[in-house]
Amino acid sequence: MAHEAKSLSTPTGSAPIDVEADAIQAIGMGIAQPDDATALRREEAGADYEVALESLNQWQLAWRKFRHHRLALMGLGILASFFIIALVGPIVWPFDFNTIPQPDVIVYQGRPPSLVHPFGETGGLQRDVLNLVINGARTSLFIGFSSMALGVLIGTIVGSLAGFIGGVLDNVLMRTVDVFLSIPLLFLILVASRFFGNGNVMLIVMIFAFFSWMGIARLVRSLFLSIREREFVEAARAVGVRDRRIIFRHILPNAISPIVVSASLIVAANIISEAFVSFLGFGVNPIYPTWGNILSNALTFIPLGNWWWPFFPGLMIILTVLAVNFVGDGLRDALDPRTRA
């Protein structure tokens, strides 16, 4: 566990002493703090307790706070299990759109959940809904997370450029962001998926990324503007540190927590948008199961009352988005240096 004491007498800040490192250490990074275990040892150690401090780095501190956030831990658990399902499930129980499950029995009506088929069977081709949901998880999660990663990358680059260089470039980039944000993004994503997507998963990921960087760019720019003026950056500049090093070693590490938190919101939004775009038939090729495609196919079977068909993929979307939101909440508390666990 990250929080366990490494040595009883580690002094605060054992990092090599140079101006730059000290500057980084002074902010945000771990300020040594005793926890309960240390307090116990402190009593045992008697007079020695004043040096019985442990040093935790930023991430160890964050994890310690995150662990106390019960909902966030639960969200992390749900996400982890969904990832395992998405990775292993399709290998163990692949979806094969060439095979119709029960070719000799012609039953148009779907079947409600039972012990053999816990999520029921679809109307029409009588596919197992659990199988569809498991195989859809891979595509849906892949689109949600990879488009977020790409979008955050673009947003961070644009925001850093705008915030660090400033001037005309800043103006041009930020006005572009303004314009993009004045059109409801869902409309643009919808149109772009139809016009450029071709049902291809990788193209859809790129389209989603292309429309998810604006918020991050705005955020990173404002962080750069404020961090740029802080003393430790000034100190680094005074000792002659080059721009690139200032950006990557001094400014970006301090901007990470807000970026991570808004990235979690992007994942949630993109998973829902993927489902929506696929639902309308403009997303991933409808012969492959994604959570949106399953919902879309269910819509024609309303008169038969196959409620289990759209219910379970929707439930998966809700659980994923809830989990992502909880993890985002937990991260926000954990990465905020002003709160202490």
């Binding site: 006005r175 059109i183 919808l190 016009f195 929506f276 309303i302 929707g314 939101n325």
Partner: protein, 365 residues
């Protein structure tokens, strides 16, 4: 104050201009362009495609196409004369002083490729159903969000507060269209079958909404017609409202809690004022300040939600128009819809800023 409003309006102009460029650029970059609609039609030859392009002015250079669409260029002229209207004055001037009549500057959005009707007519026809749906949703959304949010703040940590927290988390994570589908399955499926699954009016009772025949029918049986629309509104409005209530009730709860902890609330209590007076006169009014801006910023989501909802419930509004235009690669219609939506969003944001300046006496300009 007046100066501030004027300045904000002027700032909106470059944004609107930028929107026309972004919308145009995205559609322009699409592979195949407007002829993509014929991609799977074996009977359309290359010659037909060229003819189609010529008929719709798509053979012109892109800047010329854009300027024609904007109304800066006159499609009847060639060479440098394109900027001059038929009456010999610059084409972008209003028609009243002799300028051109084409382009969005003159209110002409072009002609839909798939229906052949004027885009402005189609949008005007779809605007009323969307306004009915979004308007009803907006009123209920604000009402419930404010009620739930402020009640949970007043009775903090009560059962109601906990329940509304759970509702907010789940509602916020719920995809709108999924909620719509489930509602249809529950209320219009074979089990209950008490509410209509889609449409705006009962087609067996009345002519299609918006036609002249409909309005004569409406004049004849106003109560029946309104009840009919009301019945068709129930499910779409619930679908549209739940997500927004979930998010905003949390927002109001937070801002209400903050204003309940302010010094002036303590002062009011110390004066011996009754709880109700403190809540509504002191805390509530201040808690609403940040919410005013928030509502303006959420209008885009209301619109985005409306496209989804209208698709599921086959509501004949702007959302349906957008989806149809997207599916059919109907460029002029799509540009018109996107532009109108963007304009509404920009003005909603503008109104939110101005409203904030009006309601918050601390802001001076």
């Amino acid at each position: 104050m007046g100066k501030y409003i004027v300045r904000r309006c002027i700032q909106a102009i470059p944004v609107l201009f930028g929107i026309t460029i972004v919308v145009y650029a995205i559609l322009l970059a699409a592979p195949g362009g407007p002829t993509a609609r014929f991609a799977n039609n074996p009977r359309v030859t290359e010659a037909d495609r060229e003819k189609f392009k010529k008929a719709w002015g798509l053979d012109q250079p892109v800047p010329v196409q854009y300027c024609r669409w904007m109304g800066v260029c006159n499609p009847d002229n060639e060479g440098l004369a394109v900027f001059i209207s038929d009456n010999g004055v610059p084409n972008f001037l209003p028609a009243a002083v002799g300028g051109g009549t084409n382009g969005i500057l003159h209110g002409d959005f072009g002609i839909s490729i798939s229906t052949g009707q004027a885009v402005s007519t189609m949008i005007a026809r779809a605007a009323l159903p969307t306004a009915i749906l979004a308007g009803t949703a907006l009123v209920l959304w604000l009402l419930f969000a404010i009620l739930i949010g402020s009640y949970s703040a007043i009775r903090r940590y009560s059962f109601f507060d906990q329940a509304s927290t759970v509702f907010a988390y789940v509602g916020y994570a719920m995809p709108t269209f999924w909620l719509g589908i489930m509602l249809i399955f529950i209320f219009s499926g074979p089990g209950l079958n008490i509410l209509p699954a889609g449409g705006m009016t009962e087609t067996r009772l009345s002519p299609p909404f918006g036609s002249d025949a409909y309005w004569t029918y409406f004049g004849g049986h106003p109560v029946q017609a309104i009840l009919d629309i009301g019945k068709h509104l129930i499910l779409p409005v619930i679908t549209l409202v739940v997500v927004n209530i979930a998010g905003d009730s949390r927002f109001i709860r937070a801002s209400m809690l903050e204003s309940l902890s302010q010094d002036y609330v303590r002062t009011a209590r110390a004066k011996g004022l009754r709880n109700r007076v403190v809540w509504f006169k002191h805390a509530f009014r201040n808690a609403m300040l940040p919410f005013v801006t928030n509502v303006g910023l959420e209008i885009p989501f209301l619109f985005a939600g409306a496209i989804v909802t209208e698709t599921i419930f086959s509501w004949p509004g702007m959302g349906r128009l957008t989806i149809d235009a997207t599916r059919d690669f109907d460029y002029p219609l799509l540009m018109g819809v996107l532009l109108i939506t963007a304009v509404i969003v920009v003005f909603a944001n503008l109104l939110a800023d101005i409203a904030y300046a009006v309601v918050d006496p601390r802001i001076k300009y």
